[in-house]
Symmetry: C2
Subunit: 163 residues, 2 copies
């Protein structure tokens, strides 16, 4: 059985995405295989109006979902930065959650600590350790760029470990 | 010249709206007239999933804009409450701003203090004074209910005073 998981690292300026394909063994406890399908980012310009930036996220994410046809979405939970940036990210995140609901896509959320724990075995791992684990798990010769795409693959892998 | 202004008080559980029609005199400084077109709220259930609640806001707001055909939208600026509720409101607000952009609708934002100042003459007015002013300006026998609808009419009137 195959399962496609789309990982998302939502932001307003850059929204990272990473899709993986998981082949599950029929018997529980058997080996399962995972491979990378696609990764990248949706960018919105800081010069554009807020509404236009949200339209870009909405339109591009719709296109991405239609292309990738995921079975499940994994999202990095909103982390509390400064209040002003949290509001901007939350506005973008609202549009992401709307889009997922319009496609009837189930999603799981993971905190940064849960993602670090899942990929490296401890919740305080630094960014490069998580990125190394992403490349290793997916047999990639290089760490996916930019960071937001690697982060999105990390959250997709976290979902794979758990489902 | 007529101008329709749609006031919005965005929230996740209750989004207040209030539409007014302004007749502008041809000569600046002449009297202008304003009257109430419609007011009410879009409600989403706390029992529903976040994505479904955002879909309700998106769909109902689209319908409302198609029905009311506003020329301008006035929105109450996001006020900083507790972080967790701010994130919920910001997510709903992101969907509102997306919807306005999809309709190419210009919008103006006002802080609570600006709205109080515009309607009562001072920025520290309490809620009932603002509501009384809304009823008086629009020649309404009663204060519009619920509060979120009255707040939305207040922000629409604030835009009318300024444009």
């Amino acid at each position: 059985m195959e399962k496609r998981i789309l990982g998302l690292d939502p932001g307003l300026a850059i929204l990272g995405f990473g899709a993986i394909n998981c082949t599950q063994a029929a018997t529980k406890g058997q080996n399962t295989a995972v491979n990378m399908l696609d990764f990248g980012v949706i960018r919105t310009s800081a010069d554009a109006e807020m509404g236009q930036r949200l339209c870009t996220i909405f339109d591009d994410l719709h296109t991405l979902i239609q292309e990738l046809q995921p079975d499940l979405v994994a999202i990095e939970k909103l982390f509390f930065y400064r209040m002003s940036s949290t509001i901007l990210v939350a506005q973008a995140r609202g549009v992401v959650m709307l889009t997922l609901a319009q496609h009837n896509l189930p999603y799981i959320e993971f905190t940064p600590a849960q993602i670090k724990q899942a990929l490296t075995g401890y919740g305080n791992a630094d960014k490069s350790e998580v990125q190394d684990a992403v490349a290793r798990e997916l047999n990639l010769a290089e760490i996916p760029q930019p960071d937001d795409a690697a982060d999105a693959l990390a959250v997709a892998l976290t979902a794979w470990f758990q489902v």
